[in-house]
Symmetry: C2
Subunit: 427 residues, 2 copies
């Protein structure tokens, strides 16, 4: 997929907004290569690993294209023995998937990641990640959204108290993750059929994972006779309560939903997980808002860095990834619907001549403008017609024309024309 100028300009604007939020939160940039050693990526992504692009063996190392920015970040931290870092990374990742272009799903796509690595007091960095999602989605004016939050420890506790053997936590988790697309009945039958859970366990899980709410739900589960007896669930619920406290201080709990059906696909999460979804804009029939898909997600992954350290030393991490491609396709559709035309260049002035044999005058003037830092263009013709030159301004949105004719040359001035109003001044 190529991005023509109109797309590239919109994308540029979008990425700038995201990066400026990351910088606002004090993150430093790093850059890692598109190519990683194949062995770095193996065993980090669970079922999705089959989508990794591999390079041909042309001698030398066996290489693959990065699949996300999180695994390279963890590899980077371990390799350089870094135990504390706040970084952002905006770059393309590669998945050998079937593209679904209308939903903004491609084989090559941008990820915009912000991560905080280090041993800190609980939930403070986690809360900042949610604040960042809230800021970005608000800044971009994408309409109403909700950020679903859960914790892998709570889910694991639920599985445990429902009688799921520990070896089946990960498959159970990836089935629960489908609840945003499938009704409970179908998810249940996958649990019992494909994943081999007992019908009783599935029913008990169903009672939990269909719950969502706020602080009240956390309190309720902390009183739950079974869950409250489970060590990891209790830890997860305690931290969730603390998280809500911090989110209240940040003033963003209005958009946060503690949602037990949120599971997230990737294997490496160990604590808090979250996902932001946009809510349907138009809803004439007054129904409950419908989700139109995830535009950001993330969570805590305390074990990943240790997988790359020879001694297994862990560095706790939490991070967020902004789903820029989906946001981009929403904004693009909106721009198209509005009929508004985005400028693809930033040219401020066209240097023009009204008579023949004035190329030298144009070249001298434009050179002066460039040297003064002014964005200027001229037509690459020796003797273009004035009308053509003004037409070019209108076509490309250049607001001013600097006109040098024989009279202007003789008087030592330039005629500056406002293209829209046709007003002219001599300067």
């Amino acid at each position: 997929r190529d991005h023509p100028p109109a797309q590239a300009a919109l994308r540029d604007r979008l990425l700038s907004a995201v990066v400026s939020c990351f910088k606002r939160h004090g993150a430093a940039a790093i850059d890692t290569p598109v190519l990683e050693l194949r062995e770095t990526l193996v065993g980090k992504y669970g079922e999705e690993a089959k989508l990794i692009y591999e390079l041909q063996d042309q001698g030398g190392e066996l290489l693959a294209l990065r699949y996300d920015l999180t695994v390279p970040f963890a590899r980077y931290l371990a390799m350089n023995k870094i135990t504390k870092m706040k970084r952002y990374h905006v770059a393309k990742v590669y998945r050998r998937d079937n593209p679904a272009t209308t939903r903004g799903r491609y084989r090559e796509f941008y990820q915009c990641d912000f991560d905080i690595a280090g041993q800190f007091d609980p939930m403070i960095p986690d809360a900042e990640c949610l604040k960042i999602v809230h800021e970005i989605l608000s800044d971009l004016q994408l309409g109403d959204f909700v950020i679903k939050v859960n914790d892998r420890r709570i889910l694991n506790g639920v599985f445990a108290v429902c009688g799921v053997p520990e070896s089946k936590f990960i498959p159970a988790c990836s089935t629960v993750d489908k609840l945003d697309k499938l009704p409970w009945e179908e998810v249940r039958s996958e649990m019992v059929g494909e994943k081999g859970l007992s019908p009783e366990a599935a029913d008990r899980i169903g009672e939990y994972v269909q719950l969502h709410g706020g602080l009240d739900l956390i309190e309720q589960l902390l009183q739950d006779p079974k869950l409250s007896q489970n060590k990891v669930a209790k830890e997860g619920l305690g931290d969730m309560k603390l998280l809500f406290e911090y989110l209240t201080l940040f003033g963003i709990t209005g958009k946060i939903s503690f949602d037990l059906s949120l599971a997230r696909g990737l294997d490496y999460y160990t604590g808090v997980i979250f996902e932001a979804v946009l809510l349907q804009q138009e809803n004439e029939r007054g129904e409950e808002p419908v989700s139109v898909g995830s535009v950001a997600g993330g969570g805590r992954y305390d074990g990943l860095v240790g997988m790359f350290d020879p001694k297994g030393r862990k560095v706790p991490c939490v991070g967020v990834s902004i789903g820029i491609e989906r946001i981009f396709s929403i904004l693009e559709q909106r721009l198209e619907a509005s009929g508004e035309k985005l400028r693809t260049t930033e040219t401020q002035v066209l240097v023009a001549t009204p008579q023949k044999h004035l190329l030298a005058a144009r070249m001298k003037l434009i050179s002066e403008l460039w040297d003064a830092g002014i964005k200027a263009e001229m037509l690459y013709k020796k003797d273009p017609k004035l009308l053509k030159q003004l037409q070019y301004c209108e076509d490309t949105g250049i607001p001013l024309a600097a006109i040098v004719g024989e009279q202007e040359l003789a008087d030592g001035v330039v005629k500056l024309r406002d293209v829209a109003t046709r007003k002219e001044v001599r300067v």
Copy 2:
């Protein structure tokens, strides 16, 4: 190769300077994928093609990583039937080469390309490309430089009048290209030995390709009894004269050298070619300045787009590529030598507390600052020591600390501390 924050920040600054020059000249951005069809890249690069990274055949199309940004641009123009465009593209390209890190040569590296496609009056866009090189190298304050200019048509004319058969023009050209690294004797012996030119032809070529100069040399060659009889050479020399006229209007001939030894490696050039080299900075013995390597290059390639068009329709193009990696390694060495520390974040203020139990106050204040667009950080500790917080400012270059203590909370103010001067004001 990973880029840690200090490198990423310097690189970011450098790329911004280059992009702002491209925008100053009215270019629009496009983006093309890192992956190209293998067949797109085959047969475009001459001897260098063996350096192309290929992807494993995992089903679907046979893919390779892009080798430069020029061939994808030509493919883009042909595919979309675009006959006129001024575009820039800053992105990474891939070469399966032996890295030479001290010379800024890597397997993954940035290219910064600006190209003008379209049928225009001769040498006007070509002159702009040289102006751009001049502006960028001046803006970056890299020290003295020279831009060597030649024309493939002049070289081909030279080969013809020296008795080289047309089938050997390309091999002869790639041998001439080595004159910047090897003395003429060695280049001559490669011509006669490996490339099979006659000793007489090689000697005659030697008389031409060791010439360099300015307008005077162009005039001299236009009077040359043999060259002036050769149609392509005459065309090339005529255009070179016109180019010098335009470069005089741009005021940059002082840095331009018409150099017949310049050949450029790639097959696709058809007209003007150029290459900018930095000249040695320190030269205590008063010798002639020595080149320290190419930092930009480009030229005209009128045939490349036609290779991708089913009907072979040509779109004339001229462009320039800035060798950002080499410039980057020069600037990095210079920064290291100066001992100056580049900030890796842009944080303006650290929100700090001088007593315990004030995390809530910090979180409320920082949230207000973020919402007001201010770049702010806080330590991820419930009760950090004030000294640690101020130390963090000094370590990372944060200029201000916004301190809220019990007194400030009671008074409804914040104490703003200038970290360097230790001056404090209550606001």
